[in-house]
Symmetry: C2
Subunit: 301 residues, 2 copies
């Protein structure tokens, strides 16, 4: 998995601080996660190809997480996109987008497929043979989801020398990679583990958007390799944080610790903080594997 | 008048090419004209104060002219603006904005006053004691207006030595500046022109947004000091230009010439043209006083 942070600041875009948007590349997919104003410009800046984005996940309908979506869709249209575009987000998003397309008389030539979300429990909202995406219900001032991206099992690695020695027909190699035991040319059952080893270990990434401290998410994100968790404030603003249903860096770290995640990425910083190092320092009092999201930063998972 | 070009490209924002937005400063007003995606960032870049913007004029509902509006309004809200905001634009704009405010449960603390436009003839849509703004109905694929900004007469300049010599009570000085004849302390009628001279000459600026070549606008913009007129294409793309209801640089210049404007500013260039000089050259075959809009450029009128 490769995660590119296009923007990681809260509230309002500024000259050198973009609002939330990320691209997660995994198993041939380029998933766009949230889409603050100007996201299309950041996609260009980071040379991410528009046509590879086929699924966009919007956590909630606060502007710093979706105001760039209508512009991105319009640009796809102007570039004569033909590939389907799937959009997953809260109920109401379809109305916002289609109203604007209607009033500009600018319908898309590609299929624009909305998957509107309103469930309160975690759901699988996308699945193919390589990846699953589940919602992570969060606790914010409006209906909000995070998203859990799970790679499915990779094929087992075939030990060709062993398979040949065991006199297995090549026609069964695909089955072996999928984990099955097979009969060889002599009619003898060969156990899969005799001729294969484990494939690559599937990774999991959890994107936890705007939320108050919520232990309810722990069972969903338990043991993920990397968790992004918002940290709008430091503990010095705990009261404001509670009022606005955001998290402090320390709270994000407490979730990371209790869920035993591999690594925590912090983001969604309030513009009141000029220096980001205190976020890392505060989180590390609770959990050691902490990284700071920064616009343009790339994480390999 | 001072005109700041925040963005002057068509269609879609790119890293160094912003879509349409301008600020016209005149007689204490900061009028924002169109508001493409990312306009709020360009306002910050050019150090234009958010609170001075009290009137926003939107020409039409194509995204490159208004997708930045909802973000700007949201930022005004986050900055705890209290000053009224007036928005002038096509019918439908109010629904787009209020739907998004409703779904994010983020109503503004300031008055958001929509003036929706649907008239087909030119109308006065704003007037105070110093400025008038009129619509310029344009010919585009959706309902579109340009905007004519007219300074009203400045006060006449009082020649204080003359007024004193004529024995006029200072209580009448205000009336003199407004052009009235007055009686002096001896009961003699003093003609205004004996004690005043002409004030500053009022200026007029015409913003002609997306439009096919349209001579119908000439009576409205006749003799303005400066006209901005879109020139999406050069004559090499005349067919595409007609189909999309845009103008070529030469057509913009023909309008400038027939309306006898003081100066023509070109803009709204298609991204297919890497070099802008040909726009100026093509226009100058018809009309001499041509300038190219560029992002960040300032024009003094």
């Amino acid at each position: 998995m490769k995660l590119t942070i296009l923007g990681c600041y809260s509230a309002t875009p500024r000259i050198i601080a973009h609002t939330t948007s990320q691209v997660l590349e995994t198993r041939g997919h380029h998933f766009l996660i949230d889409c603050g104003e100007g996201t299309q410009i950041e996609l260009r800046r980071h040379k991410l190809k528009f046509n590879q984005i086929k699924h966009i996940f919007i956590s909630h309908l606060h502007g710093d997480h979706y105001f760039g979506l209508i512009g991105l869709i319009s640009t796809f249209r102007l570039l004569k996109r033909e590939v389907d575009l799937n959009i997953y987000g809260p109920k109401g998003l379809k109305e916002i987008i289609t109203l604007q397309l209607k009033l500009s008389n600018s319908w898309t030539n590609f299929n624009l497929i909305f998957h509107e979300l309103d469930a309160k429990d975690s759901q699988c909202i996308f699945e193919d043979d390589k990846v699953e995406v589940h919602t992570i219900p969060l606790d914010h001032k409006v209906y909000t989801n995070g998203f859990l991206f799970k790679e499915k099992l990779f094929d087992r690695k075939l030990l060709i020398d062993n398979a040949e020695a065991k006199n297995i027909d090549v026609a069964y190699y695909r089955k072996l990679k999928q984990g099955a035991d097979v009969y060889n040319k002599d009619g003898v059952l060969i156990k899969n583990t005799e001729v294969t080893t484990d494939g690559r270990i599937p990774k999991r990434y959890a994107f936890c958007s705007d939320t108050a401290y919520s232990e309810a998410i722990i069972p969903i994100i338990q043991g993920v390799d990397v968790m992004y968790h918002e940290s709008t404030f430091l503990e010095d603003q705990a009261a404001l944080c509670a009022k606005t249903k955001h998290s402090t860096a320390k709270q994000a770290a407490a979730i990371a610790n209790k869920a035993r995640v591999g690594r925590l990425i912090l983001g969604h910083y309030s513009s009141r903080y000029k220096d980001l190092e205190p976020f890392k320092n505060e989180a590390m009092t609770v959990f050691k594997q902490v990284a700071l999201a920064k616009d343009g930063k790339i994480f390999h998972i």
